[in-house]
C-alpha cells in the first residue's frame, strides 16, 4: 500500500491543475477495467495510475484480470456490462478478440475506452506510440554506437511476433537506428515469448550460432534482460555491447542500469501516466465530449542516469515524478501504427 500512498502525495500536487478542470464535469461513479494480465508489472502500474486518479476524482475503479485469456476477458467484461458500470476500459488481450465486446457495450449504452491496442469500431484508445518509442530509442542507440561502438550496429532483436505493438517497436528501433548508422543489420530476429526464461533460451541458441552482434534489443525489459543474461551465460564480456530495453515497467530496468555496464538505454513508457490518461478519457466519454481516436501517452528514451529524472528509487520501490512525466509532450499522431503493418 506504500505505493498508492506515494502516488497520492505526488498527485496531490496535481490536484490544483488537473482536478479543478475535471470537477466542472459530471463524474462517472463506477468504472470497470478489464486488464490484459494483472500479474505483469506494466499493468500493475497502469492500474495504480488509474486507481490513484480515480480516487482523486471520486470514481470507483474496479479491475478484472483476463490473465491473457481472451475468453476470460469477454466473460469479465460481460460481468461489468451486467453490473451496469458507467464506463468500461479494456486492454485487449488481442485486437480482434474484443470486437464483439464493443458491440455488446454499445447495445448496453456503455462507453468504452481501450488501453494499449486499437480495435476495429472503437471510439477512443489511450496508448503509447510503439513505433515511435522504438524509433527514438533506436536513434539514441545509433548515437551511442557511433560514439562507443565504432559505428557498427549488429542487432539481436529479442522480439515478440505475437503482438503488433511489439513488432512495431522492433521495426521502429531498426528504422531509428538506421537514421544514424545506415548499414545497421538485424542479425537475429527472435521470438522470446516476452518472458525472461524463454528469451534467455532462444537468445542462447542464437548466440551460439552467431555471436557477432553488438546490440541487444528487447521489446520489453524481460526480453532485453533475457538476451543480456544469455550473453553473460555464454561467458562473454559486456565491453563493446549495448543493451536496449523497452518499457521501464518495473524495477528490473533500474537494477540493470545500475549494475550492468552494457545496459545503457531504456525506452520508458510510463505505465502510471497511461493509467492516469485513460481515466481522463473515460470521464470525457462519459460526458459525451469529443475525443481523438488515439490519445497518445508519452514515452521517452532514457540513457545512462536519465531515469532519475522521472523516478525516485529507494532500493525497494520506485516513485514516479509526475512533474517531469507530465511535462513530456506526446506527439499528436504516431509515425506508424498497426494499420501500417498489415499493408
Amino acid at each position: 500500500m506504500h505505493w498508492s500512498k506515494s502516488i497520492l502525495l505526488a498527485s496531490a500536487a496535481m490536484l490544483a491543475i488537473g482536478a479543478a478542470a475535471a470537477r466542472a464535469e459530471n463524474m462517472p461513479k463506477h468504472i470497470g477495467y478489464v486488464t490484459n494480465y494483472a500479474t505483469h508489472e506494466w499493468y500493475q502500474n497502469v492500474i495504480k495510475g488509474m486507481k490513484a486518479h480515480g480516487k482523486e476524482l471520486g470514481i470507483d475503479v474496479e479491475v478484472q484480470d483476463a490473465n491473457l485469456d481472451i475468453a476470460k476477458q469477454v466473460a469479465a467484461a460481460e460481468d461489468f456490462i451486467a453490473k451496469g458500470v458507467d464506463v468500461l476500459i479494456i486492454t485487449p488481450v488481442n485486437e480482434e478478440g474484443v470486437v464483439p465486446l464493443l458491440r455488446q457495450a454499445k447495445a448496453a449504452n456503455i462507453p468504452v475506452v481501450l488501453e494499449g491496442n486499437p480495435v476495429k469500431g472503437m471510439t477512443t484508445m489511450v496508448a503509447i506510440c510503439d513505433y515511435d518509442t522504438g524509433y527514438f530509442s533506436g536513434v539514441e542507440a545509433g548515437k551511442y554506437a557511433k560514439e562507443k561502438l565504432g559505428g557498427v550496429a549488429k542487432v539481436m532483436n529479442v522480439g515478440l511476433p505475437l503482438l503488433s505493438a511489439t513488432v512495431l517497436r522492433s521495426h521502429g528501433f531498426m528504422d531509428g537506428l538506421k537514421t544514424i548508422i545506415p548499414d545497421a543489420v538485424m542479425v537475429h530476429d527472435l521470438d522470446g515469448g516476452g518472458n525472461p526464461d524463454r528469451a534467455l533460451e532462444v537468445s542462447s541458441a542464437a548466440l551460439a550460432k552467431n555471436s557477432d552482434i553488438n546490440i541487444i534489443y528487447g521489446i520489453n525489459d524481460s526480453s532485453s534482460l533475457g538476451g543480456l543474461q544469455a550473453w553473460k551465460a555464454a561467458g562473454k564480456s559486456q565491453d563493446g555491447l549495448l543493451t536496449v530495453g523497452t518499457g521501464g515497467e518495473g524495477l528490473a530496468f533500474i537494477n540493470a542500469m545500475q549494475n550492468e555496464p552494457s545496459y545503457r538505454i531504456e525506452a520508458a513508457m510510463f505505465p502510471e501516466k497511461e493509467g492516469f490518461t485513460t481515466i481522463d478519457a473515460a470521464v470525457k466519454l462519459f460526458n459525451n465530449e469529443q475525443v481523438p481516436e488515439h490519445i497518445v501517452s508519452p514515452t521517452a528514451p532514457m540513457t545512462g542516469d536519465d531515469w532519475k529524472k522521472y523516478y525516485d528509487y529507494d532500493g525497494k520501490t520506485r516513485t514516479i515524478k509526475w512533474d517531469a512525466v507530465n511535462a513530456l509532450q506526446p506527439p499528436a499522431k504516431c509515425m506508424k501504427t498497426s494499420a501500417d503493418l498489415k499493408k
Binding site: 525472461p196 526464461d197 541458441a205 533475457g226 551465460a233 528490473a252
Partner: protein, 327 residues
C-alpha cells in the same frame, strides 16, 4: 494370456534390457538429428553451441531426474513449472535479506521440498489422483507466487557465488551442467544400484505387493514427490541466477517439457518401467530440436510442432519394436 505363462523358451530379456529397449530408437533419432542438423548448419557443432545446448538441457534434466523417479512409482507432478517460478522468487528474496547464498538455497529447497511433500501427502493420504492433485497445486502456486510478489524479485546483492550458479564455468563447462550431471549421476546410481531405487520400481510395478512385503509404499511415493520437489528447488535457484532475478512469470509450460522428455525416454506412465538414461536421451532430443530450429533459422513455431511429432512417433516406434520382439 494364461497359455502364455509357461513358455519356458520365452525371449532373451537379458540384463542389457535396460539399455536395449526404447533407448535404441531414441539414440537413433538423436544421432540422425545431430547429423542432419550439422550437415545443414555446421555451426551446430561449434563448442559454443554445444555448451549452449547442454546448459539448456541442464534445467530440464535436473527436474526430469526427479520426475523420472516419480513416474516410475506411477505418479506424476504437473506443478513443477509453477513451483519453479515460486522457488526462484523465494530463494532470491531470502538471498536479498540474508546476504547468504546458503540460506537462499536452503529456503528454495525447503519451499520446493515442501511443495513436493504437500503433493505427496495429498496423493498418498487423501488418495487424490496425482494428475488432478498437481493441477490443483499448480493453480495454487500460480496464484500464490503473485501473492508473494507482484514484481520480479531483483538481485540486490549481486553475490558472485550466486551469479556463478547459473552463468559460471568450471573450465569450459557451465556450472549448471555440472550440477545437472551430479544430480543425474546420483539419481542414476540410486535407481540402478540401491535398495531405494529397487523399491521405487517395485512400488510402481505393484504397490500392494510392496506393502505386503513390509515396506511403506506411501512413504516411498512421498519420497519421490519430495525428491522431485527438491530438484525443482535446485533448478529454480539456477534459473533465478541465470535471470539475475526471481521471476514470477517463469516456468510456463516447463512441466510439459519435463514430462515429455521423461515419456520420450521410455518411462511408462503406468509405473514400474523406465530409466534415467532414457530420460537423458529424451532431454537431449527435445533440446537439440529446439536448438536446431534456431540454428537452421526455421520458424520458431516449429519448436512446438516437431516435439509433438517426435513424442508420438517415438512411442509408436517403441510399440512396434516391442511387438516385433514378441513375435
Amino acid at each position: 494370456m494364461s497359455e502364455l505363462t509357461h513358455t519356458s523358451a520365452q525371449k532373451r530379456f537379458i540384463g542389457g534390457q535396460l539399455l536395449g529397449s526404447s533407448q535404441l530408437v531414441l539414440g537413433a533419432i538423436l544421432a540422425v538429428l545431430c547429423i542432419a542438423i550439422s550437415i545443414a548448419a555446421p555451426q551446430f557443432y561449434s563448442e559454443a553451441n554445444i555448451i549452449a545446448i547442454l546448459r539448456q538441457c541442464a534445467l530440464v534434466l535436473i527436474v526430469a531426474s526427479g520426475m523420472t523417479m516419480l513416474i516410475i512409482t506411477a505418479e506424476v507432478d504437473l506443478s513443477v513449472g509453477a513451483s519453479l517460478a515460486f522457488v526462484g522468487c523465494i530463494g532470491m528474496a531470502v538471498l536479498n535479506s540474508t546476504h547468504s547464498l546458503a540460506l537462499g538455497m536452503l529456503a528454495a529447497l525447503a519451499f520446493a521440498g515442501g511443495v513436493g511433500l504437500f503433493n505427496g501427502l495429498v496423493v498418498t493420504r487423501l488418495r487424490v489422483n496425482s494428475l488432478i492433485a498437481t493441477i490443483g497445486t499448480m493453480m495454487m502456486l500460480q496464484g500464490g507466487v503473485y501473492l508473494f510478489t507482484r514484481e520480479a524479485v531483483q538481485n540486490h546483492n549481486q553475490l558472485v557465488s550466486f551469479t556463478d550458479l547459473g552463468a559460471g564455468y568450471v573450465g569450459a563447462v557451465p556450472v549448471p551442467v555440472i550440477i545437472a550431471a551430479l544430480i543425474f549421476v546420483v539419481a542414476y546410481v540410486t535407481l540402478r544400484f540401491t535398495t531405494l531405487g529397487r523399491y521405487l520400481y517395485a512400488v510402481g510395478a505393484n504397490e500392494k505387493a510392496v506393502r505386503l512385503s513390509g515396506l511403506r509404499s506411501e512413504r516411498l511415493k512421498l519420497l519421490a514427490f519430495i525428491v522431485t520437489g527438491l530438484c525443482v528447488g535446485v533448478a529454480g535457484m539456477i534459473l533465478s541466477s541465470l535471470m539475475n532475478a526471481g521471476q514470477p512469470t517463469a516456468g510456463r509450460g516447463f512441466e510439459l517439457t519435463v514430462i515429455a522428455a521423461v515419456i520420450l525416454g521410455g518411462t511408462s506412465l503406468l509405473g514400474g518401467r523406465g530409466s534415467l538414461f532414457g530420460t537423458l536421451l529424451g532431454v537431449l532430443v527435445l533440446k537439440v530440436i529446439d536448438n536446431g530450429i534456431i540454428i537452421l533459422g526455421w520458424n520458431q513455431d516449429l519448436q512446438m510442432v516437431v516435439p509433438g511429432i517426435v513424442i508420438i512417433l517415438a512411442t509408436y516406434l517403441d510399440i512396434i519394436r516391442n511387438k516385433a520382439n514378441v513375435r
